[in-house]
């Protein structure tokens, strides 16, 4: 131990002085973040601004999805359904008068006069707040609409939450998937078509919020605030208890049903918010904006980043959004020879990465047949490509290559780091400044010494001999290793 570190107690795991410093650092970092965001969106291209906004919108979705998937430990596959509800609600509520007029005059529209009259503007007019129905106050109406969208989605979350009380694991995952699809498919049925305009949807949603980094990052900050405060509160601990062992949580007084439903409702609320931002980003509402693929992207993001960590989830989201927004070169048409070359290089990188991984983990032997085989395959592919044989003459369009790329990334992460890139580690200043304690202090070693000191503990040797694989009596034998963590 080089640095004097305080022994943590149950009361405060962070030293009060450090807490002040951390708060100051956080403020500075937030300030820098805002400046950076401002610089990026004023200097950068529209494409970059759009990508940043999309990151924030999907961040709202992934962080909220992870409240159920990561904190509560329930695999939920219906997030796109909640987003759809939020998106359609927001869309309907803020649709402009011109857009309503166009829908009304369209012959194929399935909306009625009553449903076309549903809007925040009419609601405010009804309340006598005409001042809030001007074009300048659109943002107020957008805020109201997106909040209501979240609420409607939360009600759906309440309904979807109920099966989670009876079903476990895979069965529940299938049910949530089913609910997501039911929501999507029923939106175009006769019952809901007057509200959703059937297959046509609503074109012409205002984009000024969904494409603004300020609005989207504002909502992301709000989401991260609520979800992280919840996760690291007594309620979040209870939810994690349910994830770890439902029977034990119940036996320790946790009301399992209440906390599961609570998780689903809050998660669905933020999914609804994300849906509202998403339709604004897209500039319209249509059924095919809410395919299961959306949930798939979110799942990749949270699994790659780490389901145990909100920071990790955001990192994963950034990666997925980057691939989605900047991955178009992957989907273009190239000569087969180019594809072969790229494949060869990729394989070469893979074998090098495998070697690096084994070195890092100190696995022996370092060079396994797998490493050699992948490298050999890479060389063969590269040589063939270089020889330029006739069968490589055509060209190939990498249609869907982005999704394939993300899927492969997911598989690789699941094999080599199943807990995700960040695992359970959350970003913290103490972590960044390497103040985390990994070793007990000398004092603590002394406190612990009675366990390994034969004079104090006559049975220590006996226990070491006895340390059978069934772990009975293994307490002392394992103490040294345990202390080293």
């Amino acid at each position: 131990m080089t640095r004097a570190v305080r022994t943590p107690t149950a009361l405060d795991d962070v030293d009060p002085q450090r807490r002040v410093r951390n708060a100051a650092l956080t403020l500075v970092a937030l300030g820098l973040g805002i400046v950076a965001l401002w610089a990026l969106q004023s200097v950068g291209s529209t494409k970059l601004t759009q990508a940043l906004a999309l990151f924030a919108i999907w961040g709202v979705a992934t962080v909220s999805l992870n409240l159920v998937n990561g904190t509560l430990g329930i695999l939920s596959l219906g997030h796109h359904g909640f987003m759809l509800i939020g998106g359609y609600t927001t869309g309907l509520l803020i649709l402009s008068e011109e857009a309503r007029g166009r829908i009304e005059s369209s012959a194929r529209s399935t909306m009625t006069d009553e449903t076309l009259a549903i809007s925040v503007a009419n609601l405010l007019r009804g309340l006598g707040l005409d001042g809030l129905t001007t074009p300048e106050t659109l943002w107020v109406r957008f805020l109201i609409a997106i909040f209501l969208g979240g609420l409607v989605a939360a009600v759906a979350g309440l309904i979807v939450g109920f099966p989670s009380l009876r079903l476990r694991g895979d069965y529940l995952a299938i049910v949530t998937f089913g609910f997501g699809e039911i929501i999507r498919l029923s939106a175009s049925t006769r019952v809901f078509a007057p509200l959703t305009n059937g297959a046509l949807g609503f074109p012409g949603i205002e984009s000024e919020f969904g494409k603004s980094v300020w609005w989207t990052f504002g909502f992301l900050a709000f989401t991260v605030f609520v979800v992280s405060k919840l996760k690291y509160s007594s309620y979040g601990r209870a939810m994690q208890g349910i994830r770890e062992d439902e029977v034990a949580a119940e036996a320790m007084g946790v009301n399992v049903a209440y906390h599961k439903i609570l998780g689903f409702v809050i998660s669905a609320f933020f999914a609804g918010i994300a849906g509202g931002l998403w339709v604004s980003w897209l500039g319209g509402v249509r059924l095919d904006f809410f395919l299961f693929q959306l949930t798939f992207f979110f799942l990749v993001a949270i699994s790659v980043g780490g389901t145990g960590s909100i920071t990790g989830v955001l990192l994963g989201t950034a990666l997925v959004v980057f691939v989605r927004q900047y991955g178009d070169p992957l989907e273009e048409t190239y000569a087969l020879r180019t594809w072969a070359m790229a494949g060869g290089v990729l394989l070469l990188v893979a074998s090098a990465a495998l070697l690096g991984f084994r070195t890092l983990r100190r696995l022996r032997p370092r060079v396994t047949p797998a490493v050699l085989a992948v490298a050999a395959l890479a060389l063969v592919v590269l040589l063939v490509a270089a020889a330029n044989p006739a069968f490589l003459d055509g060209s190939f369009r990498g249609f869907g290559m982005r999704a394939i790329f993300l899927s492969v990334l997911l598989i690789v992460i699941m094999i080599f780091r199943p807990e995700g890139m960040l695992g359970r580690a959350e970003f913290s200043w103490a972590g960044l400044l390497r103040e985390r304690r990994s070793e007990p202090t000398d004092e603590e070693r002394r406190q612990d010494a009675w366990l390994s000191n034969p004079a104090l503990n006559a049975d220590a040797d006996h226990a070491r001999v006895d340390a059978a694989p069934d772990a009975a009596d293994a307490g002392d034998a394992r103490t040294d290793r345990e202390g080293g963590r």
Binding site: L230, Y235, G253
Partner: protein, 272 residues
């Protein structure tokens, strides 16, 4: 006054009657041990009392009121907490967090106040942490300092048992059901846990029912011992009466009870 009354309790799994017409009572401030050979139905009784299983017949009364049919978490609210024979800790949560989860049911603030960290919420959180260290302190300093923030996953088996006992104590229960608290502990640690259980009663004010196979532990701290065999109660009384009861000796050693060295003739230590 009787704290816990179990009357004519019966539970079958298919054709197997795991608990067959068992009655006993536990008074406030007592330490009562339930012993019996493997598969005698000891853990099943705990599962019935804590609401994990529903009895087929019979009644369980806690402080005079029947608790049959209540959910496990409602039974904790009433004041009964347990540990598990095969340890059911929250593996990826830290020692401290484990002992905090079991206090969550006492939380009076809503989730919204928790998100907003209102003064009332902070006060309760602080009180919970104080109580957690108070309960962990029963086991000496070993769980108190650097182990506090370690995931339970890295703890030794004995420390996991201790954490689980602290977790049960922190629920605020008056009655603790301990299922083999010394399993996986060496003789020195067993002697220590024996004293700790006694202190849990004397200083902590808990009433304790324990299931145990280690007879020296049972003999040292039990006010009364209930012996089960094949789901039935075959004897009850103080330790010496019970271990010398021919029925008990027969249950443990079989019909042809071999005579051996005097007092040790009673139940032998067995292990699951």
């Amino acid at each position: 006054m009787a704290m816990l009354e179990v009357e004519h309790l019966r539970k079958s799994f298919g054709g197997l009657t795991a608990t067959n017409d068992v009655s006993f009572r536990v008074d406030e401030g007592e330490i009562v041990s339930i012993i019996g050979p493997n598969g005698a139905g000891k853990s099943t009784i705990f599962n019935l009392i804590t609401g994990v299983y529903r009895p087929d017949a019979g009644d369980i009364r806690f402080e005079g009121r029947s608790i049959v049919g209540k959910k496990p978490n409602e039974i904790v609210d009433l004041g009964i907490a347990r540990t598990f024979q095969n340890l059911r800790l929250f593996m990826y949560l830290s020692v401290l967090e484990n002992v905090l989860v079991s206090q969550h049911h006492k939380m009076r603030s809503t989730w919204l106040s928790a998100v907003l960290r209102t003064p009332a919420y902070r006060r309760q959180e602080r009180a919970a942490r104080e109580l957690a260290s108070e309960k962990l302190a029963f086991f000496g300093p070993r769980l108190m300092s650097f182990r506090l923030n370690q995931p339970v996953l890295v703890l030794s088996y004995a420390n996991r048992r201790r954490t689980e006992m602290a977790r049960a104590m922190a629920t605020g229960a008056k009655l603790l059901l301990l299922d083999e608290p010394s399993a996986g502990m060496n003789p020195k640690e067993t002697a220590e846990i024996t004293q700790i259980i006694r202190r849990m009663r004397d200083e902590g004010g808990y009433t304790i029912v324990l299931v145990e196979h280690k007879m020296n532990l049972v003999g040292e701290i039990s006010d009364r011992v209930v012996v089960l065999d094949y789901g039935q109660k075959i004897a009850e009384g103080d330790y010496h009466t019970v271990v010398n009861d021919p029925k008990v000796v027969e249950a443990y050693l079989g019909k042809k009870a071999e005579t051996d060295e005097g007092a040790g003739a009673g139940p032998r230590e067995t292990r699951t």
